[in-house]
């Protein structure tokens, strides 16, 4: 009887622990270590894109971003630069626009195409039709980055948050959160800063 009680207590403590940890993370969505879902979303070139299409990838920078958010706009060049730097190393950028064009006409599929052409996006820019993917990831704002590592058990979330610590001026950045995380991942080292917070535009 006593062991059963102890076991019960043990389970209780464990579950309380889990509760505390999860409540520190961003809303629902994924936490660090969770396996992220794959998807099949339409790219601006008309093709459907899935994570599994990238056979050689070691991981992915899934970035929820859009046309209309001033923060997203501020990071466009830096997202291009991330793709240029890490695609050759096996971590491509996959951008997803999570907004509903009915709520934000500036984020329509046509406007996505136009913006991507204007800014020469080197990465897929996907439309989250029906808004089914962003809630699973737990993206709450744009831009919102999820670094995934491809493993035997799936695409594991390794970093969630902002790109760096200065939206306003790339030259004033002191901490490149995403680059530090990707570099650590590629080097097989522990990622020091696994989550960061930033003001962003809510997803609508």
């Amino acid at each position: 009887m006593r062991t059963i009680k102890m076991f019960g207590l043990f389970v209780l403590v464990l579950s309380l622990g889990a509760f505390t940890v999860s409540s520190n993370l961003d809303v629902d969505g994924y936490g660090i270590g969770d396996v992220a879902t794959d998807f099949s979303l339409k790219n601006i070139d008309g093709n459907m894109v899935s994570l599994s299409d990238f056979k050689e990838a070691k991981g992915y920078l899934v970035i929820f971003t859009c046309n209309t958010c001033p923060y997203s706009v501020a990071y466009e060049d830096r997202i291009n630069a991330l793709d240029a730097k890490y695609k050759p190393q096996g971590i491509p950028v996959i951008a997803i626009n999570p907004n509903n064009p009915a709520a934000k006409p500036g984020d329509s599929f046509e406007k996505m195409k136009a913006r991507a052409a204007e800014k020469n996006f080197s990465f897929p820019y996907l439309f989250d039709k029906g808004q089914t993917i962003y809630p699973q990831y737990g993206a709450t704002r744009t831009p919102h980055v999820f670094l995934l590592e491809k493993t035997d058990r799936g695409n594991v979330v390794k970093y969630i948050g902002a790109i760096d610590d200065n939206y306003r001026d790339a030259s004033q950045v002191e901490e490149k959160f995403v680059e530090n995380a990707v570099d650590a991942l590629l080097a097989g080292k522990e990622i020091k800063t696994k989550t960061t917070k930033a003001i962003g535009c809510g997803i609508r």
């Binding site: 610590d165 917070k197 535009c201």
Partner: protein, 185 residues
Amino acid sequence: MKNLVLMIVLVLSIALGCGNKTEKGSAENLSEPQDYALVQTNKNEDVKFPVYDFEEFEPLLHKDDGKTYIINFWATWCKPCIVELPYFERINAEQKDNNVEVLLVSLDMPNMWKSRLEPFVEKKGMKSKVVILDDPKQNEWIPKVSEEWGGGIPATLIYNKEKRNFYEKGFTYEELNQELDKFLN
């Protein structure tokens, strides 16, 4: 054995309880930005509102003068923020004599201060105090406002000497009044 069953029930109810707790902050969104340039070239010397970095701003979150403060984080580009602003204005006017003060903290970007923020405040005839929080080190200061804050706006902090609550969501007038009531005896 009975105890084990009890324990399992207890554990399950806790687990379910926290599943339900995840109320998604209705922190939302933007109107279309008029221009895409973000890097400010001309100085905002003559901007009408005080501009603070977080260090300068932080004391406003910890005033100890017997008043109840309603601190609302917003931006002109944030649509749900704009929707709720009139409720904050109304509370500010109605509750002045109750020792309540509303502070509207604009997170507009520097290139919007003159072009959007000033005209907006003027056009709406806003009476509450407006300050600009301009500090790009968001990952450092967001948790100092509240550990609960993920970074979405609108977001509101209500505090006085005894009590402090943070809300990452939009308010209706009734909801805001209800919350404020909890701070006023």
